[in-house]
Subunit: 335 residues, 2 copies
């Protein structure tokens, strides 16, 4: 690792001032073509790259976006991360990844760190912070996009992107109803989950739309994974053996539920139909193949990055947007 050449090295070699080199490297006007080419050639030869650190100090811009997620190992977030990274890369932005490990203190630390590192903007996924604390932190950032979280009121330079979970749940229930299933249970995920609550709302709306009454006994909260679905389904079955449809919090929960059904001798979908959410790769790997409410995760990541950069580009503070992404029911074998 040898010493990096600096702008003054190039200036000396090209026999011009540092400013001319700076202008040439940034493709700014005010440099003759001849000089520009001479500088470019020299820069290539000496392997010169402007120091992002020094540039950031001078311009107060870092070309860096912070991405905060509860768990990067969760496919839900890793796919969003992939989309965001991709969109950022195209525009020359770097992504600094903060994993909160579902820990509130660490989420605060992440927000704080982004501020201290002066990122140009942040993408916050599924924040669990109390709304007022969240908002004060977000307000200190130059720009932000919240994924899977609403704001109490519009904030300058910040947008929100939410999956229309309510719609997704309604689609699922409507599908059950269209197949003559009326004893529909729900494995609603963790009680604290915002999207879980929205799906529960959609579930109830879907029932109401079909003139079905909501029975609290058909509702079971569960951990958002295979084990949670397995345990939750068994609990449901113990209380209501005649359930003939289940809307699950996500594909993992659905997979666990199917496993529980099969162990109890129930055939899926003949005896019990199951619908999941997310359309992860798992959906086509289990048997029966899973009918699920598909969410374009990478698309959300890209959208988040694109709107964030749009906010940053608008010198005048853009009015906040509250975007919604509609999911889509993918019918396969389980329902």
């Amino acid at each position: 690792m040898k010493k990096r050449p600096t702008i003054s090295d190039i200036a000396r070699a090209a026999d011009v001032s540092m400013m001319t080199v700076s202008r040439a490297m940034n493709n700014k006007p005010g440099v003759s073509d001849a000089v520009r080419q001479r500088i470019q050639a020299l820069a290539d030869e000496l392997g010169y790259r402007p120091s992002m650190i020094a540039r950031s100090l001078a311009t107060r811009q870092t070309a860096t976006i912070g991405l905060v997620v509860p768990d990067i190992a969760n496919p839900f977030f890793s796919h969003i991360a992939r989309g965001a990274e991709d969109a950022g890369y195209r525009r020359g932005y770097n992504l600094v990844l903060m994993n909160t490990a579902e820990d509130l203190d660490r989420e605060v630390a992440a927000l704080d760190s982004m501020w201290q590192n002066e990122v140009d903007g942040a993408i916050l996924c599924s924040s669990r912070l109390p709304i007022d604390e969240l908002e004060t932190h977000v307000e200190r950032l130059p720009a932000a996009v919240l994924v899977n979280r609403m704001l109490s009121a519009a904030l300058p330079a910040t947008a929100t992107i939410n999956v229309n979970d309510t719609l997704g749940a309604q689609q699922a229930v409507a599908h059950f109803v269209s197949r003559e299933r009326t004893r529909i249970a729900i494995l609603a995920g963790p009680v604290y989950s915002i999207s879980g609550q929205r799906r529960l709302d959609g579930y109830r709306a879907g029932l109401a739309a079909a003139s079905l009454v909501f029975d609290p006994v058909m509702l079971e909260h569960c951990a958002p994974d295979f084990q949670g679905g397995y345990a939750g389904m068994n609990a449901l079955l113990a209380r209501r053996p005649r359930i003939n449809a289940v809307f699950a919090f996500n594909d993992l929960v659905a997979a666990g539920a199917i496993e529980a059904c099969q162990e109890q001798g129930k055939h899926v979908p003949d005896d019990i139909a199951v619908i999941g959410v997310d359309d992860t790769p798992l959906a086509t790997m289990i048997r029966p193949r899973l009918t699920t409410v598909r969410v374009d995760l990478a698309g959300i990541g890209q959208l988040a990055m694109d709107t964030l950069l749009a906010i940053i580009d608008e010198a005048d503070e853009l009015a906040a947007d509250a975007l919604q992404v509609d999911p889509e029911l993918v019918v396969r074998e389980s329902a």
Copy 2:
């Protein structure tokens, strides 16, 4: 987003020099307790945090580590990322994530960007760059850890961490042999995969250890996913219907292979035993539950970060290390 206070704001408010503030904030000696506390109180009150940018420019250290992965949406890498982020967080390091999308040009761009951003070190996962190009890029970095890739020779300030794939494959084959399975095929993954080649080596070594001869017809390369395993298994079965054991490139491939077997009326494990690699969550979600060669991915991520920081801490350039991580066979139902 209001203006950040700077060190000179604090200095003025506390009626001391900037240096005294700097020393106090960095917990360096040479400041009386009284003054230190006064500064600390003022800093808290005004919400002062040192600018990482300015600090980086002065110290030439960024407290930032680059993580380069082919695909963050791949569980293999997202788990490594989680472990690395975690270990970095504990030590106050940020992680900038670079996704190459399996694209060589983008991998080069990532290496270049890390150099331009002056990261303190980099973790490179499963690099596909030609060895000499890889090495020249790595040499420009202050420190590096390569995961799943060897070096042609030891490099200063760089270590490698490799899964002992050969051992894992041998364990799998030995397990088959111990269960009286002798017609053992292999779904070896992509031809370009380094770990795929090592597993093939281990497979052959395992056969040799059991005095079995290697039959090229029992070898099938495939895409490293469910579809690849499915297609590969069908190809294998078409050529050698009497296969009674298959070692698969990873859990996804194993899941695809099992599906193919079942479709062909073969019972797993009675007719054909299957072993995967990785022990992803999927392994316990399919039936039969998958016997697999477990790799502690998050542990590798942590190890990578820890050794990287160890290299960085050693002022004198540490001799390169070539670390190996041994996998472990987890016996479940499929073999």
